[in-house]
Symmetry: C2
Amino acid sequence: MTRAEAAVPLARLFAMAFRHLIDELHERLDERGWPDHRPAFGFVLLAAREQPLTGRAIGDLLGMTKQAASKLVESMEDAGYVRRRPDPSDARVKVVALTPRGHRLLDVVEEVYAELETDWSQVIGVERLEAMRSDLLDVLRARHGGDLPAVRPTW
Amino acid sequence: MTRAEAAVPLARLFAMAFRHLIDELHERLDERGWPDHRPAFGFVLLAAREQPLTGRAIGDLLGMTKQAASKLVESMEDAGYVRRRPDPSDARVKVVALTPRGHRLLDVVEEVYAELETDWSQVIGVERLEAMRSDLLDVLRARHGGDLPAVRPTW
DNA sequence: CCGCGATAGTCAACCCAGTTGACTACTTCT
DNA sequence: AGAAGTAGTCAACTGGGTTGACTATCGCGG
């Protein structure tokens, strides 16, 4: 192992790994007839399926302002993946929920993404892959006050 | 383990881990009197120390066009971290090399970054940390034709 | 039950890192 | 020598994101 190789910072590997996975994901989505998406779409869809989301919550999740989140949701709405409706219990709030088309996209995303992780596990094995996942969860929670930090990489 | 927790995609964890490390790094650099940097600075400094870099190579490394790389280098030059000089062996090329100030910044960056990885190893242990590093190297090389992909996260 | 601070969302202006496209200068291949 | 390819630059533009100001609504303490 060369001197340079021994020292590759994890931060750099994380950035590369994220970029690589997202690029591959979008490439394969494109092949299956779901072109022109942004990485944020998937994260929003996934979170919005778990529970109805407010704009503010989306901003926090992604690590951006509520205004930016609002623009993002608007573009997702235009593309037909989500819709915004007033919250009956709080007139200030508009709730973001998946449309049928959004559910279909998310299904494809999860299917393709599962293939990607499978590809990875064929290189390093399932055990190491799952070790990575649980180690990352542990570290991030420990070093970030118990909860997970925002998703969007700061560049 | 809840249903949601079991399924946290690695891509999301990588993004969070990168963001977290970079944010912490910049925070600590700021405390030590090195404010106002972009993540790319460190990657360029590190690569330029190993060997003289061309603008094109910087673009490839980071995953952006040579024009964008040129702008970046210009701002690093303005900040006094690098300088560009003509390549004696090829008059088309301008070579990017570290200034003394650039070397000093890189030293601090590496010092602080080492602290961050040490913090991580105190949560999951050195073995798991190094396993993560070598597994990521293996996977990225295997899934990217032998060499490492570009650094900048696509967002 | 009033009033005030806090919160959700929107609008508008702006910023700036990065892209696209066109160009010059130089090198390399044949 | 000529053609194809490569390094860098200039200028115009894009678009995701921020800042700041505003409205409407909620909820708590007095």
